[in-house]
């Protein structure tokens, strides 16, 4: 994947809804051919950002560049992007074939080329032979595929997807995640994906943009976001995590839970107050006397692959994921490997 050129750049984008700021000064570069995901809770401004790129919302301030050209004020029908809408927004009065053909007809392509491209699109989304079906004869997953075909048949440079899997059941969603990634790779175009589902974001994306309250909190690969969250919100939003206050004694040594732990972070002031993130699956369960932290198991829930345990130690409730189960009431010891301790600067608001 070439990561050299930005296909879309947002600079200082501000949007208000009825005087309420939704996006305050957003800056972002989206690279050519990447699968980028805007991830955040509802109301974080991720869909608004997508709609700005699609041309459905004009920002109050700031500039949008498409391949270096400023495209503020360019209406949606003149932009080289296509959108897959949340509830598909298929045209019920047209059949599957006509829905997919719609954009090509508008751009007055000759009949022969239209047919060829529609057939290719149907092929790509695994719907060959469904052309003459009515939209309301299709299942949710199939409608989803039609919506994708209808967008990509126009060969956009960028495809915008607004929570496209939100209405599907879990199993179908997982299938479509793989499918979408395959489609993106075979088309070699940029996908901009909006979701509030962190697992979806981690599965498909090359890069994840975590947003909250109209601001970007962190941008990075799924691994970066998961392993090196920059603040408590990201850590908590991306999977379960234990977040505990601590002090950075010196480089590579942190104190929390009344004990000193070696770690791999540096660059903090001596005795700086920090927040420590430990993923539930990274906590080792040891016999009571061998662990650095000892606590009492409060509850155990079977989750399929693992058990989820809550352990109380020094007033903090630790969440542990482990394949072995420990009886509630047992006193256990806990330890964490240095590379599994993530140190974040303290966010004052929290």
């Amino acid at each position: 994947m070439s990561k050299s050129s930005a296909i879309i750049s947002l600079r200082g984008i501000r949007v208000d809804y009825d005087g309420e700021p939704v996006l305050h000064g957003l800056d972002l570069d989206i690279m050519d051919k990447e699968f980028i995901t805007f991830l955040g809770p509802s109301g974080c401004g991720k869909t608004t950002t997508l709609r700005i790129i699609g041309g459905f919302i004009e920002p109050l301030a700031g500039d949008i560049f498409f391949q270096g050209q400023r495209i503020n004020g360019v209406p949606p029908y003149k932009r080289q992007v296509n959108t897959v809408f949340q509830r598909y927004a298929l045209f019920p009065h047209l059949n599957v074939y006509e829905n997919i053909e719609f954009g090509l007809k508008i751009s007055k392509l000759p009949e022969k080329e239209r047919r060829q491209r529609v057939e290719e699109a149907l092929e790509l989304v695994n719907l060959r032979g469904y052309g003459l079906r009515n939209i309301n004869q299709m299942s949710g997953g199939q409608q989803q595929r039609v919506a994708i075909a209808r967008a990509i048949v126009n060969q956009p440079k960028v495809l915008l997807l607004d929570e496209p899997l939100g209405a599907l059941d879990l199993k179908l969603r997982k299938e479509m995640q793989v499918e979408l990634k395959r489609i993106q790779q075979s088309l070699e175009i940029t996908f901009i994906y909006v979701t509030h589902d962190q697992e979806e974001a981690l599965t498909m994306s090359d890069r994840v943009v975590v947003m909250k309250d109209g601001e970007i909190l962190q941008t990075g690969t799924p691994q970066d976001i998961y392993n090196e969250p920059q603040n408590a919100f990201v850590a908590d939003f991306i999977g379960e995590s234990n977040i505990i206050d601590g002090f950075m004694h010196k480089d590579f040594l942190v104190e929390f839970a009344n004990d000193l732990f070696p770690c791999v972070d540096k660059g903090f002031a001596p005795m700086e107050r920090v927040q420590v993130v430990v993923r539930p699956e990274d906590i080792l369960i040891l016999p009571a006397e061998k662990g650095k932290i000892s606590g009492v198991v409060e509850s155990v829930i079977f989750k399929g692959v693992h058990y989820e345990m809550m352990v109380e130690a020094l007033g903090y409730h630790w969440m542990i994921h482990s394949t072995m189960s420990v009886e509630p009431g047992t006193v256990i010891g806990m330890d964490v490997a240095p590379e599994n301790i993530h140190i974040m600067k303290r966010t004052e608001e929290e």
Binding site: Y88, L90, F91
Partner: protein
């Protein structure tokens, strides 16, 4: 026992509904003028009907006015429905909706009188302007124009009330999807919005047509002697004496409406069957 009772009851209801029409049809074939004595089968009244210029011209007026008024009402009503649909303010919206209901709830006699007053006062204002400025103002005579205006007034709400639910049912993102796929706003409107709300517009059109053809009271106030619609003409005739030609005309109208209904139902049935076949074969 219950079965017989049920059948008897249905028969009773049907008789109640259709007996008057049956009697009317029967007497339209009566050879004599009498409304009570049957004196043999004859097509005389049908022959007379088609040579009665007054009735024929009234029928023509009725159809022309109904078609004009319905078409205008569909255009105005659809535009109004889209406007109402996009109003964000709740209070303003319900105020506008109440204004919309008004012509439907208002007694027709009030509508008729007020429309007549309006047309007369427009002329007076026009005359006033002419007197002051010397510019000749066109006069509004009672006739086709006033009839159409009046009918549009009470037909438009039916269109609005039929189109609005279709707009609400519509996925509001289909318009954006059309823009996204390259449609200009006006293309998106004609290619996506109109097909979506078409059933509502069609129902609105048919209701407008029906109410316009039916209307007596309002038309009575705003028509002239030369632009009388059928209900007005019949109303005037009834005051003297019901001519058996009216029986013949009513029979024809009834048969036409019945035929239209049967046709609509048959085609709906056929469509449903086709859809079932498609679904059965496709899955």
């Amino acid at each position: 026992m219950m079965k017989h009772l049920r059948r008897f009851y249905i028969g009773l209801v049907m008789a109640f509904l259709y007996l008057p029409i049956g009697v009317l049809i029967l007497y339209s074939f009566n050879a004599s003028k009498s409304r009570s004595v049957w004196s043999g089968f004859s097509l005389r009244w049908y022959r007379d009907l088609f040579s009665n210029q007054l009735i024929l011209s009234s029928l023509y007026n009725t159809i022309v006015v109904a078609l004009c008024a319905s078409v205008i009402a569909v255009i105005l009503g659809t535009a109004a429905a889209m406007g109402i649909y996009s109003i964000r303010n709740k209070w303003f919206k319900s105020a506008i909706m109440n204004v919309t209901y008004m012509p439907i709830l208002n007694p027709e006699i009030v509508m008729g009188v007020s429309l007549l007053l309006l047309f007369v006062s427009v002329n007076q204002i026009g005359a006033g302007i002419t007197a002051v400025t010397g510019i000749p103002m066109p006069e509004l005579h009672l006739g086709y124009l006033t009839l159409v205006i009046a009918h549009v007034t009470f037909c438009t709400p039916y269109v609005i009330l039929n189109v609005l639910p279709k707009l609400r049912q519509m996925d509001k993102y289909v318009y954006e999807a059309a823009l996204d796929l390259g449609c200009s706003p006006s293309m998106a409107f004609f290619k996506v919005i109109i097909p979506e709300i078409m059933p509502g517009m069609a129902t609105g059109f048919l209701m407008a047509l029906t109410y316009s053809i039916d209307d007596f009271i309002i038309s009575y106030f705003v028509s002239s002697a030369t632009s009388q619609t059928l209900p007005v003409t019949i109303g005037a005739m009834v005051r003297k004496r019901i001519s058996p030609e009216i029986n013949a005309l009513s029979t024809i109208i009834f048969v036409v409406v019945l035929a239209a209904l049967v046709l609509i139902n048959l085609s709906a049935l056929r469509q449903e069957r086709q859809l079932q076949k498609k679904q059965g074969g496709g899955a």
